[in-house]
Symmetry: C2
Subunit: 348 residues, 2 copies
Amino acid sequence: MMKKYTIKDIAELAGVSKGTVDRVLHKRGKVSDSALKKVNKVLEEIEYKPNPIAKSLKNNKVYKVCILFPQSTQDSFWTPCISAVEEIENNYQAFGIAIEQHRYDSNSPSSFLDQANSIISTKPNALLMAPLFYKEAQEVKKNCLEKEIIISTFNNMIDKNSLSNYIGQDLFQSGRIAAKLLDSLTNSGHMLIVHIDEQVQNATHMQEKEKGFKKYFEEKKESHYKVSTISINKEQATNYAAHLQQYFNSNSDINGVFVTTSKTYIVAKFNKENYKKLKIVGYDLVEKNIDYLQQGSIDFLINQNPKKQAFQGLSNLAEHLLFGKEIPKAMLLPIDIINSENYKEYLE
Amino acid sequence: MMKKYTIKDIAELAGVSKGTVDRVLHKRGKVSDSALKKVNKVLEEIEYKPNPIAKSLKNNKVYKVCILFPQSTQDSFWTPCISAVEEIENNYQAFGIAIEQHRYDSNSPSSFLDQANSIISTKPNALLMAPLFYKEAQEVKKNCLEKEIIISTFNNMIDKNSLSNYIGQDLFQSGRIAAKLLDSLTNSGHMLIVHIDEQVQNATHMQEKEKGFKKYFEEKKESHYKVSTISINKEQATNYAAHLQQYFNSNSDINGVFVTTSKTYIVAKFNKENYKKLKIVGYDLVEKNIDYLQQGSIDFLINQNPKKQAFQGLSNLAEHLLFGKEIPKAMLLPIDIINSENYKEYLE
DNA sequence: TTTATAAGTGTGTTCGAGCACATTTTTATC
DNA sequence: GATAAAAATGTGCTCGAACACACTTATAAA
């Protein structure tokens, strides 16, 4: 347990005033060679860490941090993010962090862009967003950089190469996990990937998961596996059951299904009411999915943990603004496997 | 975004001095009725939250927090706790939290007691411990309360009734999860619970898991399930394989095994080299278990996440000491299901 | 009314970092 | 060597809470 040194301590040890030490520490010049040497010598001998509390008190600013993600009326997947915001507010409000929550229409790229630009025009210190639209997100990022607004993304990343403080999961690996789970549940060798999504924006998401899923079975050379894929879009949505029934009638060897979105309950409903032979692995702890998980119609859910993503993203920003902590370029969160017995502790 | 009020603001609004406001806030008396009313009125109208940063700066103490858990030479289960300590040190050292790490011999109750008492004699502000020994833990708790040392426990709780800041998992539920997993992997209907533990101290741990495991199959009334239990103790440890082989020879219908400790690799090794028909669910991301998980000899591991437990426990204490945050009486952490595809993100 | 005592109130300092400003020292120029 | 300009150095205040201490007012006893 070592002593905590202050600027005053250093000044005394070096035989100069705290003003001089301060100038050395901040490289503000106006320091003679001899003084510089004296201070640096002391600085080498001791380990000086500025007191972040004193720093923060002096600073005494209110930082505005905005978070932007889709409306949860359209997709309850996003609902848990609200409680992440609340928790962060409780934790950091007294430290001078003000969180502003903004939402956009997940069907409308222009809604996303409008919201983002309106946020940017208020010049917050930082913006955390879940960008569904690639092109628009690029533009938002550019605008933020221009206005010197720190930008982080969660759940959906803008681009793989120039990572910008991304918090989320490895989607490819996520697909592999689903594959491993279905592999342990079935033995038919024929799997079906179902993309159910009214929006096209999740395309990259679903593609990554599909790639990971297929890769797993490619690597498993011992036996011959077959993986098929279907997409159900909004037009067919009026009658999922008939659509699925038709498909399974002509592919009766399939008994493992991987649903790549939180709409897993749609296949589960079909299976429970009509088909009854499918093992199902899907995504996210939304209410309907949990119902079918409890009933046994869904075997496993993979938790994308939007709350933790938002929480972590906001934490990173707050700690950076308040105490100068570095924001990691990419944070890949664990991918939780959920069954009927362990979902509770992951909720809320 | 509301204004942040300071004591000075309140003083001005109430028409008194900041000293008077301070006395009202801290109920230190020496305030006239009229002044009290004036201040309280202002306090009702605005929402005053003292600035924790200023508070902490004024306080300017170094808090000593000790953590006590078993040596990891005996059981690598505890190794991750070390990095939890390191992370907490990085986060909180500058705020005046000094962590002291102490270890004890997991075979020796007296070692635990000695270590704990030697910690207590140095009068730290708080103690976080993983107590393997019930009786001794009670005594340590008593001693801490006497000396006004805040006490928290993780992984093993002292007693269910008078919970003392416990951080850990619901072990009963943990057994249920294992049951559900094995149920989804097998269909023989005969399961085996294996307790492998050189120490007796884990008894309650293992019992809770066993109860949960059995309860799951009791509730699943549709089919008749049989659950057997064996214990392998230190004396038999020289030849696990022969011992297991003998058991399975006379119980050849068993193909699902639930190992209640981190020694899961012992059954996995036997299965890989001799038996080859078991589905195995066990505990903890220790190196040997991960090897067998990758090879496919272990199907699922349940992650007790000692690192997160220690981290959370230390965080709670630090935030309490520094900023007066309340320490939750019990924190049940999520129970992670691990397979060969998602273990990586849970490591380190 | 005076004096003593208690009750109530306000002022000023501290914590450590950061920065403005005042002061001192050095260097350049006549 | 005197003077001005520049460079170097030190002093003092701020942030907000907390508390010691000084100060003022009210109350009681003489």
